[in-house]
């Protein structure tokens, strides 16, 4: 039995895994203590649960539990990491290097720092969405203090060469931050090997609750940050505010399940993604956005040429997908990520991001393939552009009249 709309938007958010919800619920009932309450058992129980969860988050990424700081989500983690490091190390330099295809939480944060007097470079990506290491090296400056590169892109799922960038940054003594919100449970992360100093995590992209995230802050060599949220001195002074025990417990359980199940789960998801991609093979003028090899199996971002993006979304409302990043989809601007790959506005507008997850079934994939075939066929029948292409007219040579 299919449940509509079929959810293929796992990169926007994931459902809370029922096993995670089950672990959270006791903390929403009888166990309600404030983990900072030191004078009674309500507080102690909460504190222990918080520390157990910290261990689970650390275990998924090969970190020491003492390197994990709780936040309200990856957006806050990104803000804390980038502003906190830039402000702490501003005596050493004022240049920040990031990439054009980063999440808004990184880009807007860097822009804010520019207004405060820092300088920033937004690196281009190649057509496949990946950064070029030589270009990256060339963009570094003697006064570069912070580099921020995401591990997995939220729109196109490509995996950036984090290990290589880490080596370069460590060599030059530059603080390296990685937004891994879209990576946990999808790619193996070992912070013992990776030379990453700061890494942002989100619970709700990995079957945990919304409103919960974490920041990894390396101890050896030690990275220093300026706190962005001040108060009671929670989280070693780096992030004040009462800890939301139920949410922390949820994130811990979600990351524990990810550690245990990601191997088998990713194989199954890859099979579903390949099936989906296969399903579009016989369609004309269909383009995959982003490299297919250096990419998480969960993501398929496709542009259907000669179809208008908004009408496409309306036409396929039985499947819940994104036509851009969830956080920016309220605007009608074409996706800045796809523009950075060199896609023109039309192709960027007519893109669909399918993201597959833990609860996606073969039947759902088959339904999506079938629906897309029917609806794209219909929309193209209505499209004058498609008609011209069918008649062999090269659209690039057409002189359009201004209205």
């Amino acid at each position: 039995m299919l449940k509509f709309p079929i959810y293929l938007d796992y990169s926007a958010t994931t459902p809370v895994d029922p096993r995670v919800a089950e672990k959270m619920i006791p903390w929403l009932t009888e166990q309600f203590g404030n983990p900072a309450s030191r004078s009674h058992a309500f507080g102690w129980d909460a504190e222990k649960a918080v520390e157990d969860a910290r261990g689970e988050v650390a275990a998924l990424v090969g970190a020491d539990p003492r390197e994990i700081i709780w936040t309200s989500g990856a957006t806050e983690s990104n803000n804390l990491a980038i502003k906190g490091a830039a402000q702490f190390y501003k005596g050493k330099g004022k240049h920040i290097l990031t990439v054009k295809t980063e999440h808004k939480a990184v880009l807007d944060t860097v822009r804010e720092l520019e207004r405060l007097g820092f300088e920033a470079t937004y690196l281009d990506v190649q057509e496949d969405g990946l950064i070029d290491i030589e270009q990256f090296k060339a963009a570094l400056r003697p006064d570069t203090i912070v580099v921020s590169v995401m591990m997995v892109n939220n729109e196109i799922g490509v995996i950036q060469p984090i290990a290589e960038i880490g080596e370069i940054c460590r060599d030059k003594g530059i603080v390296f931050h990685v937004d891994a919100a879209q990576a946990t449970g999808k790619v193996a992360i070992d912070l013992k090997e990776l030379k990453v100093d700061l890494m942002s995590f989100s619970a709700h992209k990995t079957y945990g609750p919304k409103g919960m995230g974490a920041l990894y802050v390396r101890r050896k060599p030690r990275v220093r940050l300026e706190a962005q949220m001040h108060g009671g001195g929670h989280e070693r002074g780096l992030r004040s505010g009462t800890l939301a025990t139920h949410q922390i417990v949820g994130m811990g359980e979600a990351f524990r399940l990810a550690r245990l199940e990601m191997g088998a789960e990713n194989e199954r998801i890859r099979m579903l993604r390949d099936r989906l991609l296969d399903g579009f093979k016989d369609m004309e003028a269909v383009y995959v956005n982003g490299d297919l090899e250096h990419r998480v199996p969960h993501n398929l971002n496709i542009s259907f040429a000669y179809v208008e993006g908004e009408s496409l979304i309306m036409a396929i409302k039985d499947v819940a997908v994104s036509s851009g990043s969830a956080c920016t989809s309220a605007s009608l601007e074409p996706s800045y990520v796809l523009r950075a790959l060199g896609r023109n506005d039309e192709l960027a507008h007519s893109s669909i991001r399918f993201t597959i997850g833990r609860f996606t079934t073969v039947e759902e994939i088959d339904f999506a393939i079938d629906l897309l075939h029917k609806r794209i066929g219909k929309l193209r029948e209505l499209s004058p552009l498609w008609e011209m292409v069918q008649e062999g007219i090269d659209l690039d040579t057409v002189q359009w009249a201004a209205h």
């Binding site: 709309p5 959810y7 938007d9 926007a12 958010t13 994931t14 459902p15 809370v16 029922p18 919800a21 959270m24 929403l28 009932t29 309600f32 203590g33 404030n34 900072a36 309450s37 030191r38 004078s39 009674h40 058992a41 309500f42 309200s72 989500g73 990856a74 957006t75 806050e76 803000n79 808004k104 939480a105 880009l107 807007d108 822009r111 989100s202 919304k210 409103g211 962005q228 949220m229 001040h230 108060g231 009671g232 001195g233 929670h234 004040s240 505010g241 009462t242 939301a244 025990t245 139920h246 949410q247 979304i313 409302k317 819940a320 997908v321 994104s322 036509s323 969830a326 956080c327 989809s329």
Partner: protein, 382 residues
């Protein structure tokens, strides 16, 4: 099973069953990202809008004045730092008894060139109006005075202060985290420019709060990226917690008046019993929250006493929960001129909707016994 009586409601409160019921679907099948444009996203957006209306209605504000945050600490940080970021450095004045999440952000402003002054309080913990006047004459740019103190429960005359602040053309912010759900909180009637609320002190979940903000106040966000909450607070909304917060506000507003009478009767009864054992009760002469009692016994360390009470089945606090990790004496008490030794003996009992008359009688009895034992021990040791 041994279930201790919970007398620490100012630290956090258990989730109300109605709140839990309202939240569960949002941890289950209704899991969408409120920014998504499909059905899952629209459901989440509608739920957030409804919660915003509930919060606004409970505190006499307009829904568009409510900015959701991850909690009270973030809301306080957002106002202090966010308002300061839009101004040239000047003078910021906060009361001497603010929660650390107002005090610490204010101190941070010093590094940006701001002067910080702490408004003195009298021996009962009320704002010293002469000092307040003197500070207003120095033309501060930002003021923050908490509505109800988390430790003593003392209420400040916020409406009066706000009207004077308006006359002096200064933004006044009030941290109403402890007031909400215990006394009437009406944004419009108070006349403040900004007000902080927290969910988990009123039977809602930890992880949600709000800054209620007069739209004339210009504010820079603390957390950038994504542009949620009118650009003032980015990040995927915690739908379940926001829904829970909305329902908790509705419940708190509905029960406020009855609870007020019931709790103040219980608290007054408790203080009569405590006074019989020679306990010094702080701020008894001031207007206070109905649920809070803050007291100390000469010669008996607060931590020790609270530990003994916990083992005897009563959960209470020896200072504010956030700072109970550090051994500093209560900031609230030292500001009132209480000497450090007595301040270290302080115990806070805070009552809530499930507290019964029986809890109070049993607590007072146990308290008297523990105090007697500790005094005898002290006598032997001396």
């Amino acid at each position: 099973m041994f279930a201790p009586a919970y007398l620490d409601w100012n630290a956090t409160s258990p989730l109300a069953p109605e709140v839990r019921e309202a939240m569960l679907p949002w941890l289950g099948e209704r899991f969408g990202n409120a920014s998504s444009r499909h059905e899952y996203g629209r459901q989440a957006r509608a739920a957030i809008d409804e919660a915003r209306e509930r919060v606004a209605a409970a505190v006499g504000a307009h829904p568009t004045e409510v900015v959701f945050t991850s909690g009270g600490s973030e809301a306080n940080n957002l106002f202090i730092k966010g308002a300061a970021a839009c101004m040239k450095p000047g003078l910021v004045a906060i009361s001497a008894i603010e929660h650390p999440c107002v005090r610490e952000p204010a101190k941070q402003l010093r590094r940006a060139g701001w002067d910080v002054v702490e408004l003195a309080v009298d021996t009962a913990g009320r704002i010293d109006r002469n000092h307040w006047q003197a500070v207003l004459e120095r033309r501060p740019k930002l003021l923050s005075v908490m509505f109800a103190n988390n430790e003593s429960g003392v209420l400040q005359p916020i409406a009066e202060l706000a009207s004077e602040a308006r006359e002096a053309r200064v933004w006044l912010h009030t941290d109403a985290v402890q007031a909400l759900g215990k006394i009437e909180v009406d944004f419009r009637a108070l006349g403040v420019h900004a007000m902080t609320l927290s969910s988990h002190k009123i039977g809602g979940p930890i992880g949600a709060g709000a800054l209620v903000l007069d739209k004339r106040v210009e504010l820079a966000p603390l957390i950038a990226g994504g542009g949620q909450e009118r650009g003032l607070r980015s990040g995927t909304e915690n739908v379940a917690a926001i829904v829970g917060f909305g329902v908790a506000c509705q419940l708190a507003a509905a029960r406020a008046e009855d609870e007020h009478h019931r709790l103040s009767a219980l608290r007054d009864r408790l203080e009569i019993l405590l006074a019989e054992t020679g306990t010094r009760i702080f701020s008894r002469e001031a207007e206070r929250l109905p649920n809070t009692s803050f007291f100390a016994v000469d010669g008996i360390d607060g931590e020790t006493l609270v530990g003994k009470l916990d083992r005897a089945g009563f959960a209470c606090a020896s200072g504010s929960a956030c700072s109970s990790a550090n051994p500093e004496p209560s900031h609230t008490l030292t500001a009132m001129g209480v000497d450090e030794t007595l301040a270290r003996n302080a115990v806070r009992v805070s009552l809530g909707p499930t507290t019964t008359a029986d809890d109070i009688e049993r607590f007072a009895e146990t308290f008297a016994r523990q105090v007697k034992e500790l005094k005898e021990l002290a006598a032997v040791a001396a």
